[in-house]
Assembly symmetry: C2
Homo-oligomer: 106 residues x 2
């Protein structure tokens, strides 16, 4: 299991378009078998800055995510909306137990 934190800075005039494209990607991503969570958050005091908290069951699942049509469509859709290249960093979970790294049943 691994956690990718992705920091994304968006051009101010494109924030709404970025949110729409990323919601579409998130909704599709959580349907992937290898995706445990796909949180999407906006900085409280800087609405042009976003983070994705992507939780994958394995490195292979992260690679599979990068080959999905929804990820490729998102990457193309947001390319011109970003103020700077996005930055992703990989982490390993310590707490909670791995079985809890998923969403509850709705």
């Amino acid at each position: 299991m691994l956690v990718a934190l992705v920091s994304i800075r968006v051009k101010p005039e494109h924030v709404q378009a970025f949110i729409a494209a990323t919601l579409d990607n998130a909704r599709n991503s959580v349907q992937e078998a290898g995706v445990a969570r796909f949180d999407f958050i906006q900085q409280a005091d800087d609405p042009n800055h976003f983070m994705l908290i992507e939780v994958f069951h394995s490195p292979e699942a992260q690679q599979a995510h990068r080959e999905t049509p929804h990820y490729l469509a998102w990457r193309a859709a947001v390319a011109d909306l970003l103020a700077e290249p996005r930055v992703g960093v990989r982490y390993l979970p310590i707490f909670p137990d791995q079985a809890l790294w998923k969403y509850p049943d709705a």
Copy 2:
């Protein structure tokens, strides 16, 4: 609801002590009524760097967390273990729906 991402850089010789103290804090924090999640992760390629993903039901819940005995004990225990001051940034959730910002039943 708000999400606090806290970046923490630890002196290499104190990593194990930091993990132990933070696990204790995390296990107590998730018992708080106002805490939805308290994820603790370690950077894959830099084991001296950690992130906390703290999800609170409200700003008041974050403040209440900061007054708990376990938080105060953690803050004191780790003060000399850190390589630099920790940095916390607040975010607002966009995805998923707020009802899903909690752990599943174990």
